[in-house]
Symmetry: C2
Subunit: 155 residues, 2 copies
């Protein structure tokens, strides 16, 4: 995909200009991050990276994702239950729809939220740096499933 390629080149350029080295392990993580449509966890990234590079350690994936987060090129979505998901394609804050059944995460494109931070800043006196908007619910696919008694889950 063209836009993935562009995004990958962008990330490589950002790392290069800050003097970070481009190891095969890092490149593999970058490629997976850029190719991921959903919002993978570090564990998921690690599994996919291992499919091509079986020798990459989990620690290295953690370090690379953390590095990308630090330079503002990956958006981290942390949840209470020790669960973190990452978006390497849209690192700016944007609202998400999170399915509490299948744990999928989808982006929401919703106009009218763009001015919200400024408005809150003006009303509160806070200097707003960042924000986060998440909706928790049940996705259409999970709603369509007729649950068997054995796999009912209410989490």
């Amino acid at each position: 995909m063209k836009e993935n390629q562009n995004r990958l080149e962008w990330l490589v350029a950002r790392l290069r200009e800050r003097g970070f080295r481009l190891t095969p392990q890092r490149m593999a993580v970058l490629r997976i991050l850029v190719a991921s449509e959903g919002h993978p966890s570090v564990e998921m990234i690690h599994e996919r990276v291992r499919a091509e590079f079986p020798m990459v350690s989990l620690a290295t994936v953690y370090k690379t994702v953390h590095l990308l987060k630090e330079i503002g090129e990956v958006l981290e979505l942390a949840f209470g239950d020790d669960h973190r998901r990452y978006d390497g394609n849209r690192p700016r804050p944007h609202p998400h729809l999170i399915c509490v059944k299948c744990h999928s995460i989808a982006d929401v494109d919703f106009a009218g939220l763009a001015e919200l931070p400024d408005e809150i800043a003006h009303n509160s006196g806070y200097q707003i740096l960042n924000h986060r908007l998440d909706f928790f619910g049940i996705c259409p696919a999970c709603q369509a499933q007729v649950p068997h008694a054995s796999d009912r889950r209410y989490d």
Copy 2:
């Protein structure tokens, strides 16, 4: 305070009607939760409870807060860095202002967000159960501080 008293009685009634016992430890946690203006962590609740009841264990505070969360009478705000804060007074979702310097958490009263979940539900097909809106920034008090070189923090 009158409203705290009412809230406390409400919580006691909710626990009673579900058959939960009202131990002195639980009552102490309830009282602290209801009296807390900010959004305390379990650790903070534990410290304050110990001021009156030095024998209350941290595990019990965890269990009580978890219980209240389960019955929907406490709002949990979980952050990525293994940090959770609790609001025992307004358990329904509402936006928050979080200072990245002093870690204080303030409520935002902002009209015009009430219909947002319904609107998102309609547009996306999700059944929305819950949501969360947080703004991260620097509170007026922290903005006013002239930072010494030694305590500059950029987190």
